[in-house]
Every structure is written in C-alpha cells, then in structure tokens.
C-alpha cells in the first residue's frame, strides 16, 4: 500500500486527520441548524402533546391526589421514583463523557460532547420533577428546602431525601453551567455566521465572545475547574440517590454495595443513551463526517466496559444476600427470580448482561449503527426495569408476610413516564434548531493537534501536546 493510499484510509477512518477548511466545517454544523425539515413540526406536535399530557396528568393528580396512581398500602414508591433514578442515571453519563474523557484527553469525545451535555441537562430537569410529582402534597415541596422562616423549622438533615435534594440540585446547577460554558465559543460562531433571530439568540448566548487569547485561557481554566468539580460530584450524586434505598431497613434495599452499583448502572444507561442520540444525529443530520465508525467504536467499547462493571456489581448485590439466606432477603430474591418480578428480572438480565456480552466484543457490531441502536435501546429498557424491580418488587416483600403486596402501574404513571421521555426528545428536537450541536472548536483544535507523520514506510497519527 502506497503512502497516498494509507493517508486516504487514515482520513476516511479518523475525523481528526481529515481536516477540512473552517468554512466547510461551519457550514456542515450550521446548515442543519438553519434548515427546518418536513418532519420537524409534526415531531414537535406529537412530542409537545405527550409533554402536555404529562402536565395535565400531574394537574389531575394534584387535584384528586395520589389515588389515581397504582400505589397501595405496601408499595408506596413506584414508577415515579424508578423514573427519577433512571433519568438521573442517564444524566450522570453525559458529564462523564464530557468531563472525564476531557480530562483523560480521549479524542473521540470531541464531536459528541455537546450531545452528551445536553442529554444531561434535559434528563436532570425531567428527573428532578419526578420526586415532586411523587409527593402527596406537591405544592408544599419547598418545605424540604432549608429556607429561613419565622417558625425556625428546618428540614431534617438526617433524612436521605434531604441529601438527595441537595445532590440533585447541585448537580442540576453544575451540569447546566458546564453545558453553557462549553457552548460559548460555538454560540459565537453561530452569531458570526447566521442571520435572523438565531443570530440574536446566539449573540446573547455568546456573552461577547471575541476569541481573544485571554478569553480562551479563561475558558480552558473554567472547563478544567468544572470538569474536576463535576467529576467529584457525579459519583456522589448517584451514591446519594442509592442511599434513598440503602439507608432504610427494607430487605433488598439495605445493601452496602448499592452506592457503586447505582453509579455503574447510571453510567451504563447514560452511555447507551448517548449512543442512541449520536446515531440519530448522524442519520438525521447527515453527520457522517463528524460521527464516524471510530466514535461508535469508542462508545461501544465503553459500553461493553460499563456493562461488565454493572454485571460485577449486580452479582455482588445478588450473591451476598443469597448466600446469607436471611428469610426475608431470600424471599425478595425469590420474588424477583421466580415470582412477581420474574418477567422483568429475566428480561433485564438478557438486555443488560447477555446481549451486550455476546455482541459488543466484535468491532463489526460496534460500528454497525442499526445493531448499536438496537442494543442501546434494549439496555435502556433493561435499566428502567432494573430500577422498577428495585423500587416496586423489593418494596412488595416486607418483614411480615401479611404485608406482601403487588404494584401495578396505572394510566397516570404511564402517561407521566412517556411524557418525560418525550420532554427529553423534544428538548433535543427544539435545541438542535437553536444552537450548534457539535463542539466545533474542540474538533478544530483536535484537527490542528493531530497530524499524520511518516515513519519509514508507514504513516502514524501523532498528537502535539
């Protein structure tokens, strides 16, 4: 193979050595932003309807109260809490991709960071609404906040729910700012190259970014601080979410391994969600240039890794109570495996452990988008089922057999759950027409740093530091 051929091959494979003129790159990102296709308004209509149904149902629930859900005397937490844990889990990985992979300087993160960060923002907003929807008296939610008041009543800082509220709100603030800081140079790019109201919007978002030496330096410092900060917050947030369960004495919940197990599950579902979003953007916006096989491959390896970590913690969480054979804990496991949770349990094992394990080892699978899309969607289903099992099936098995119960979701919970997913998708659909969706300055930076160097008869990619 000649050098030209080799160079050609490298350019086809790797985004960072396939440098194109800035104008061309800008056009590729900004053109889909400006174009409103035929499917846009119908999609906004359908998704908007689902989101509206969510709010209307919530209104109904406040009027009639929680009776319209499927909750009962025994199982008093259900799909709302499962949704909360699930969605905040997806939100975790968004920043993981953007922050951890940035600190580790892993290059395939560059074009997909924005997607990951936005996923975090939408998911955390949707998930934060679920604990509120779950309250019996939603309109009193502010009693959980430590605000000064004349009666000198404070929230109970012993309660895991207060830790949870604190963690969720700080994560919401951090991840929104993190997303915004990363957006500034791209907003400035859009301001300079588009017309109309999008220019006004991006002008406003860009905060007077001029791209001076000092501004870049400040941006880099801010990104570094936020990356480190968010990397510290992220595992603690999901550990605290797991404490909502682990700190109780309910059999099946009271587990010392819940913290890392939940963190692993969170990153797992998040990586799968990013794969789904990345594939959809690659297909719908014709971004074959930005999102290539190497990105799907990198994400696929990451997915396999998180899958194995999840398997490990799941095994830990299972085998210790099983070996202990404490009657109630054993009953929890039996109910999952061979009782009411049977279908959900084995489906979860299949989608979360078996399917990824027997497919993702092969590069051909990892780079074939329909397979990756299918696997990722199944993993989403499996991880929602996991949370559903932990919340409702475990809670249905109590210390005294008189109190064993079954939970079945009713329409209200299903409408609110679909509404939340629709909210996230709608967020993506709308925002993809407002701001640039590729972190273009990071791609350009990478293309500047990475060069093909000739060594003997071969070409290698070398990166300047």
């Amino acid at each position: 193979m000649g050098l030209d051929q080799q160079a050609q091959l490298e350019r086809e494979r790797h985004l960072l050595v396939d440098a194109r003129p800035g104008r061309e790159l800008n056009a590729m990102v900004l053109e889909p932003m400006m174009r409103i296709g035929r499917a846009f308004w119908p999609a906004v209509g359908v998704l908007g309807f689902l989101v509206l149904a969510w709010w209307v149902t919530w209104g109904f629930q406040m009027w009639w109260n929680v009776g319209i859900t499927g909750l009962n005397r025994v199982v008093m937490w259900s799909l709302y809490i499962a949704n909360y844990v699930y969605l905040i889990g997806i939100a975790e990985a968004g920043t993981f991709i953007a922050a951890a992979l940035r600190l580790l300087d892993i290059d395939w993160r560059r074009p997909i960071s924005r997607i990951a960060e936005l996923l975090t923002v939408f998911c955390i907003f949707a998930s934060a609404l679920f604990p509120l929807a779950h309250l019996g008296r939603t309109w009193k939610f502010y009693w959980l906040l430590p605000y000064p008041n004349e009666r000198q009543l404070w929230p109970n800082f012993h309660s895991a729910l207060i830790w949870d509220l604190t963690a969720t709100l700080s994560y919401l603030a951090m991840s929104t700012l993190f997303f915004y800081i990363d957006l500034i140079p791209d907003a400035a790019l859009a301001r300079d190259h588009v017309r109309g109201w999008r220019r006004t919007l991006n002008n406003w978002l860009a905060l007077g970014w001029r791209g001076t030496e000092r501004q870049w330096r400040l941006l880099k410092v801010a990104q570094l601080i936020f990356s480190i900060g968010i990397l510290l917050i992220m595992p603690s947030v999901h550990t605290i979410v797991s404490y909502d369960f682990a700190m109780t004495i309910q059999p099946g919940w009271h587990s010392t391994v819940f913290g890392p197990y939940f963190v692993a599950g969170a990153i797992y579902s998040g990586v799968a969600a990013i794969i789904i979003a990345a594939i959809l953007f690659q297909r719908l916006n014709h971004w074959g240039y930005f999102i290539r096989d190497e990105h799907l491959n990198g994400l696929g390896i990451f997915l396999l890794l998180t899958s194995l970590v999840w398997d490990y913690f799941f095994f830990q969480d299972f085998i210790v109570p099983w070996y202990g054979q404490v009657p109630t804990e054993k009953q929890v496991l039996l109910t999952m495996m061979a009782g009411r949770g049977q279908l959900a349990f084995w489906l979860m094992i299949t989608t979360n452990a078996i399917i990824p394990f027997f497919t993702l080892w092969w590069r051909r699978v990892r780079t074939w988008w329909p397979a990756m899309l299918a696997i990722s969607i199944l993993i989403q289903l499996g991880l929602l089922l996991e949370r559903y099992i932990i919340v409702t099936i475990d809670l249905g098995v109590r210390e005294l057999p008189f109190n064993w119960g079954l939970y079945q979701p009713r329409a209200a919970e299903l409408i609110m759950s679909t509404g939340a997913v629709a909210f996230i998708v709608l967020g993506f659909v709308v925002f993809s027409k407002l701001i640039p969706f590729v972190v273009l300055y990071e791609v350009k930076e990478g293309q500047f740093l990475v060069q093909l160097k000739r060594i003997g008869k071969g070409l290698i990619r070398s990166k300047m530091e």
Binding site: N72, M76, I249, W253, L400, F402
Partner: protein, 240 residues
C-alpha cells in the same frame, strides 16, 4: 415544669395473643374514635384499606388450618425507623411520653416513613377522606380529619392521654396508674389488650409484664424497641 426531654411516661400496650379472637371490635372502635376514613370496596381491593389497628390473620398448618390472629398497630418504637427518614420532621418522637408523633400539617407525603417501617402500620390518604352520611355526625371533635396526601397512623389515642393528664392536673394530683384507656383497649371483649404506663409500677401493664414468660416483641431483632408487648403461650402458633 419538667425537662421536655425527660421521660415522664412510657406508654405501653400489651396484646395477649392467647386471648385474641380476631373479632375486629378494636378496628371499629379505632375508626370511630380517631376519624379514620372508611375506604370503599374498590379501594380496599386495590390494597388501600385504612385501619390504624388491623388484625393480621395467619393460617397455621395444612387445611383445615388453624387461624391465628395478630393485632398490628403502630408499635411506638423507642428507636423508630420512620423518624430519621422524614425530610420535614413530620414523624417525630416525644421523649417525654415515649410516643411516635405524626404531625399532619407538616407532612408533605414523601411516604418514606412507610417504606422504612418494618411493621407497615402507617397509612397514606390516597384521596380526601369520605364519611357516608350518618358517620359525619359522630366524628370525634378532639381529632383532626386528615386531608389527602399525608400519612397517618395510630397515636395511642393521644387525645385521651392528654385529656386524662389535664384532668389530673386540674384536680392537682398525679395521673392514676390505669387512667388512660385507648379506644381499642376499651372495646376489646376478651380483654386481650391492656394499656398503661410502664414507668408506673402500679399500672396493669407493669404488673403483667413483670417476669412474664410469655412476653415478646414483634421483629425485636431489628432493634426498633417497640412499645407493644405480645403475650404468647407455647400452644400459640404465631411465630416471628
């Protein structure tokens, strides 16, 4: 005035399982005394029956099996799992009387307390309470009618405790050993339920529990230190 954190009473109930016939008179009495709403058939079928005291029925042995009854109500644990988990201090402890209190108007309905209650004796108002026509005439004016969206549970008839204490205070004397009688105890036909102050050696519960071989507490291994003692002889098949 005594220090608020100093225990003045240790309200305790004794349930004699060998006497309980499972007649459920205590359940009815509790509904009448404490304005516990009556849920309709579909709600009960959805497993939302609301009784501050309930009779748990267990079948023992192969059919024809023996039915054994376990009256279950809030255990007023000394170290209650429901208390630390409440984010707004709606579930609090009275150190003075050893009671678990539920502050209705502070409750926001996270329902976390019920998740952490191993006895599952806390009840959530899934809907606003409904009392069919004549029942509205007999609501107890001493007890709040709870709205939808909050938790409630057995209070050991705290309104009766307070009334007895006030009566004793106006008469300038100490509270008598068996002056407080909750509705369920008052009603129980075979006198399977007893109630009193364990700190008062003259009370019936103190006398019954003194060196009683039959006494046990439900799920004692969890360390909740319940205030309800169950009496069970060797022939009784209720096991925990």
């Amino acid at each position: 005035m005594a220090d608020a954190t100093q225990a003045e009473h240790k309200w305790t109930m004794v349930v004699d399982l060998d006497k309980c016939t499972g007649c459920q008179a205590c359940v009815v009495a509790c509904h009448a005394e404490n304005n516990v709403p009556i849920r309709n058939k579909s709600e009960v079928q959805a497993n939302r029956a609301q009784h501050w005291i309930r009779i748990e029925r267990y079948w023992v042995g192969d059919p024809p099996a023996k039915a054994r009854f376990l009256p279950m109500l809030c255990q007023h644990c000394n170290r209650a799992p429901c208390e630390p988990v409440c984010p707004v201090y709606a579930s609090v402890h009275s150190q003075r009387e050893h009671l678990n209190l539920q502050v209705y108007n502070r409750c926001v309905g996270t329902r976390y307390c019920n998740n952490n209650c191993p006895y599952v004796v806390r009840y959530f108002n899934f809907y606003d309470p409904y009392f069919p026509a004549p029942l509205t005439e007999q609501l107890n004016p001493d007890v709040t009618v709870r709205t939808a969206g909050i938790m409630e549970k057995c209070t050991f008839c705290i309104q009766r405790i307070n009334r007895a204490e006030q009566q004793a205070r106006t008469e300038g004397r100490d509270l008598g050993p068996d002056e407080v009688i909750p509705a369920c105890v008052q009603t129980c036909p075979p006198s399977a339920l007893l109630f009193g102050d364990l700190l008062n050696p003259e009370s019936r519960v103190s006398k019954v529990l003194a060196d009683n071989q039959r006494a046990l507490r439900v799920l004692e291994h969890l360390g909740t230190e319940p205030a309800i003692y169950y009496l069970k002889g060797g022939k009784s098949y209720v096991r925990f």
